[in-house]
C-alpha cells in the first residue's frame, strides 16, 4: 500500500514537472510577458498602495509586463529577501525602494551579478551604481516653509515664528528632503524663526498625537507645526484640536498653521476645511512616479539605458495650499493619483 502511494506521488510530481516544461514551451509561441519584481518600502501607506496599483496597470498596458510585489515591510531584511526571491525567480527587472543606501549597494550588486536590471526609487545606492528615480521633495518642502512663513507674517507680524516638528528621525532621507528644506524655507522668509521642538512621530498617528501634546506643554508658543508625513501631521492636528486649538476662520489660522506631507484624503479633507488650521501639504504623485519608474526600468531591460550607469531622474511633488490650490484641482489630483471616490468638498465641510 505504502509503496503504491509513494509511486503515485512520484508519478504525479513527474507529470507536474513535465507539464510545467511544456507550458513554458507553449508560451513561447506567443509574445512572452515581462516579469517585473517590485519591492515598495511598505504597503502600509496610502501612497505606496496607489503607487503599486498604478505600476501594475501601466506595466501591463504599455509593456505587457506582469508585476509581482513583495512588501518591504519597512525593513531592510524584508527588502533583501525580496531581491533574493526575485533573483531566484529570474525576473526581467527589479524596482527597489528600500531603507538604506549601503544595503541597497549589496542588493543591487546581487541583482546585477544575476544580470537583472534594477532601478532604485527614492533611496539610491550609496555608490551610485544603477539608474535611480528620485522625488525632488526638497523644492516643494522649501516652498511649503516659505509660504507658511509668509502667511504667518502677513497675519501676525508681531508674533515671532516658532516651529515645531513631528519628525521622522529614524529615516535620514526625510531630514534631507523634507524637514531640512522646510525649515530652510521658513528661514528664507524670517531668519529669526526658531525651531523650538523636534519630536519623533514614528509614522504613527497616536505617537504623533502624544508627542504634540508634550510639545504644546513645553512650547505653547509654537505656531508653525510641521508633520513629516500624513500620520504625523494628522496626529499633531488631533492633539491641537484636543487642546482647543487647530482652528481657523475662513482659512485664517488662529493659533498655528499646520503643514503636512503626502496629501492623503484625510489631510486634504482638513486642509480644505476653512475652520481647520491644517492648510499646506505636498502631494506625492504615485501615478507619475510609477510611470517614470517603469519607463526607466524598461529602458534598462532593452539596453536603451545602461543598467550599470548612474543616472538620476527627478519627479516632483504637488504643492497644495488652501489659499493657492483650488479644491477642484485637489479633487482631480486625488482622483488621478489615488483612485479615490471621495468628494472633497463634502468631506471638507464636515
Amino acid at each position: 500500500m505504502k509503496r503504491a502511494l509513494t509511486l503515485a506521488v512520484v508519478l504525479v510530481l513527474g507529470l507536474l514537472l513535465l507539464a510545467n516544461a511544456f507550458a513554458g514551451g507553449q508560451g513561447d509561441a506567443g509574445k512572452k510577458s515581462l516579469k517585473i519584481g517590485k519591492i515598495p518600502i511598505t504597503m502600509q501607506a496610502n501612497y505606496h498602495q496607489a503607487h503599486v496599483k498604478h505600476l501594475i496597470a501601466y506595466a501591463k498596458e504599455k509593456y505587457n509586463a506582469d508585476v509581482t510585489v513583495i512588501d518591504g515591510e519597512f525593513s531592510t531584511e524584508a527588502s533583501v529577501k525580496g531581491v533574493e526571491t526575485f533573483i531566484a525567480q529570474g525576473v526581467n527587472g527589479i524596482l527597489l525602494h528600500s531603507l538604506d543606501e549601503k544595503v541597497n549597494d549589496q542588493m543591487v550588486k546581487a541583482a546585477r551579478k544575476a544580470k537583472i536590471p534594477i532601478v532604485t526609487f527614492y533611496i539610491p545606492t550609496f555608490s551610485r551604481l544603477v539608474p535611480h528615480l528620485q522625488i525632488n521633495e526638497a523644492e516643494t518642502s522649501f516652498q511649503m516653509g516659505k509660504v507658511a512663513a509668509l502667511k504667518w507674517r502677513e497675519w501676525y507680524p508681531n508674533k515671532p515664528i516658532k516651529i515645531g516638528v513631528i519628525d521622522y528621525l529614524t529615516v535620514e532621507i526625510v531630514q534631507k528632503h523634507r524637514t531640512g528644506p522646510f525649515i530652510a524655507g521658513v528661514l528664507s522668509v524670517d531668519p529669526t524663526a526658531q525651531v523650538v521642538s523636534k519630536l519623533e512621530g514614528s509614522a504613527n498617528v497616536q505617537k504623533a498625537m502624544a508627542a504634540m501634546q508634550d510639545m504644546l506643554q513645553a512650547h505653547p508658543e509654537v505656531n508653525l507645526v510641521y508633520g513629516a508625513n500624513a500620520d504625523h501631521a494628522l496626529g499633531a492636528l488631533a492633539a491641537l484640536e484636543n487642546a482647543g486649538r487647530g482652528k481657523a476662520v475662513n482659512g485664517k489660522c488662529l493659533t498655528e498653521i499646520v503643514i503636512g506631507t503626502d496629501a492623503t484624503e484625510g489631510e486634504l479633507a482638513k486642509l480644505y476645511n476653512p475652520s481647520s488650521s491644517f492648510k499646506i501639504t505636498q502631494g506625492l504623485q504615485p501615478r507619475v512616479n510609477a510611470i517614470a519608474e517603469m519607463d526607466l526600468l524598461y529602458n534598462c531591460i532593452t539596453g536603451a539605458q545602461n543598467p550599470d550607469a548612474w543616472i538620476q531622474i527627478d519627479t516632483f511633488n504637488k504643492f497644495i495650499s488652501y489659499w493657492d490650490t483650488p479644491i477642484e484641482e485637489a479633487q482631480k489630483f486625488i482622483e488621478d493619483q489615488y483612485f479615490t471616490k471621495l468628494d472633497l468638498k463634502s468631506a471638507a465641510s464636515k
Binding site: 504597503m43 502600509q44 501607506a45 496610502n46 498602495q49 528621525l169 521642538s197 523636534k198 519630536l199 519623533e200 514614528s202 509614522a203 504613527n204 498617528v205 497616536q206 498625537m209 502624544a210 508627542a211 501634546q213 508634550d214 510639545m215 506643554q217 513645553a218 500620520d231 494628522l234 496626529g235 488631533a238 484640536e241 484636543n242 487642546a243 492623503t264 484624503e265 484625510g266 479633507a269 489615488y338 483612485f339 479615490t340 471616490k341 471621495l342 468631506a347 464636515k350
Partner: protein
C-alpha cells in the same frame, strides 16, 4: 478538597509592600526631578496629558496584570487595539450608528480575547505562540479593512459623532478619562475583593495544585483573556475617537508598554505574584519619564535607551528584594 487559597505569606506580603513603596519613591523622585528640570511639568494640563497617554496602558493592564499573575500573557493587545479602532471607524462610516459601532468594536476585542483563551486553554498552545498568532491576524485584518475602505487609514467620511466619546470634556476633565478610571477602579475592586484574584494567584503559583483543589483553571484563564480583550477593545475604540480616525498603525509596541508597566510594578512574568497598584505606578513612571524627556526635547533614541534601563534596573531591584 478546597485548597487553601490564602495568597501571601507574611514575608511575601511584606516584600510586596516594600516594592510598592519603592515604586512610589521612584515616582516621586521622577516627578521632583522633572519639576526641577522643566517648569512646565507640574501643571494641570501636563498631568492630564500624561494620564491620557498612559490611560490605555493602565486600562488594558488592569486585566493583563491578573492574566500575568495567572502565568499567562497576551501579545496581541497592540494589534487588537489597532483593529478595534479601525473597525469602529469603518462601521461608523458605513451606516452603523456610532453607539452601536462603539459596542461592536469592544465586542470584537472580546472576541479576540475569547480566541486567545480558546487557543491557550482549549488547544493547549503556549500563550506566546497563541497570542503572537492572533497578533498577526489582528494586524493583517486591520490593514485589510483599511484597504477595503480605500487606503491605509479610515479617516474621511466619518460621522460627526465619531469623535464625541473621545473628545467630550466634563468640566476640565476628558469624559473618556473619567470612564477609564471608573473601569480601572472596578478592576481594582475585582482584584482586591473577589475570588478572581485568589484564583489567579493560585493558578500562577501552582497550576496543578490549583486544579487538584477543584479550581476550574481553564475557565479562569479563559475569563481573564476575554477581559483583557474587552478592555483592549474599549481602549482601541477610545483612541480612534480621540484621533478622529481608525489607523492600523496605532498600537505598535503597545503590548510591550503594557508588559513593562506590569513587570515594573513587581509582577513576575512566571506568574504567582504581582500587584495591581504596582502596575498603575509602573505605567505612571514610564509615562512621566517619557513626558519629561519630550518636554526637554531629548532625542527619541535616548528615550528608548532610558526606558530599557529603567525596566532592567527595576526588575533587578525587585529580584534583590525577593531574595532577602
Amino acid at each position: 478538597m478546597q485548597a487553601d487559597l490564602t495568597l501571601k505569606s507574611g514575608r511575601r506580603g511584606a516584600t510586596l509592600d516594600i516594592q510598592l513603596l519603592i515604586l512610589v519613591g521612584i515616582l516621586v523622585l521622577v516627578m521632583a526631578v522633572s519639576t526641577a528640570l522643566t517648569p512646565r511639568f507640574l501643571s494641570y494640563v501636563n498631568m492630564i496629558n500624561v494620564l491620557m497617554q498612559v490611560a490605555m496602558i493602565m486600562l488594558t493592564g488592569s486585566a493583563a496584570v491578573l492574566l500575568m499573575i495567572a502565568g499567562a500573557f497576551d501579545l496581541s493587545v497592540g494589534m487588537v487595539l489597532a483593529l478595534t479602532g479601525v473597525m469602529y471607524a469603518f462601521m461608523s462610516k458605513n451606516g452603523i450608528p456610532t453607539p452601536l459601532a462603539l459596542v461592536l468594536s469592544i465586542l470584537i476585542g472580546s472576541g479576540f480575547g475569547l480566541a486567545n483563551g480558546a487557543l491557550v486553554v482549549g488547544l493547549k498552545i503556549t500563550p506566546v505562540i497563541a497570542t503572537l498568532g492572533t497578533m498577526y491576524v489582528a494586524q493583517g485584518l486591520a490593514f485589510i479593512v483599511a484597504w477595503i475602505d480605500g487606503g491605509a487609514n479610515v479617516t474621511t467620511g466619518l460621522p460627526r459623532d465619531f469623535e464625541v466619546f473621545g473628545r467630550t470634556m466634563v468640566g476640565p476633565i476628558p469624559l473618556f478619562l473619567l470612564i477609564v478610571f471608573a473601569l480601572i477602579l472596578i478592576f481594582y475592586f475585582l482584584f482586591a475583593k473577589t475570588n478572581l484574584r485568589k484564583y489567579a494567584f493560585a493558578i500562577g503559583g501552582n497550576q496543578t495544585a490549583a486544579r487538584l483543589s477543584g479550581l476550574k483553571v481553564g475557565g479562569v484563564v479563559l475569563a481573564l483573556y476575554v477581559l483583557v480583550g474587552t478592555l483592549t477593545g474599549f481602549a482601541g475604540m477610545t483612541l480612534a475617537s480621540r484621533m478622529g480616525s481608525g489607523s492600523p498603525k496605532v498600537g505598535t509596541g503597545f503590548e510591550f508598554d503594557v508588559i513593562v508597566a506590569i513587570v515594573l510594578g513587581g509582577t513576575s512574568i512566571y506568574g504567582g505574584e504581582g500587584s495591581f497598584l504596582g502596575m498603575i505606578l509602573g505605567a505612571l513612571i514610564i509615562g512621566f519619564v517619557g513626558n519629561t524627556l519630550n518636554l526637554l526635547n531629548v532625542m527619541f533614541f535616548y528615550q528608548t535607551v532610558l526606558k530599557g534601563l529603567i525596566l532592567v534596573g527595576a526588575v533587578l531591584l525587585m529580584r534583590q528584594l525577593r531574595s532577602r
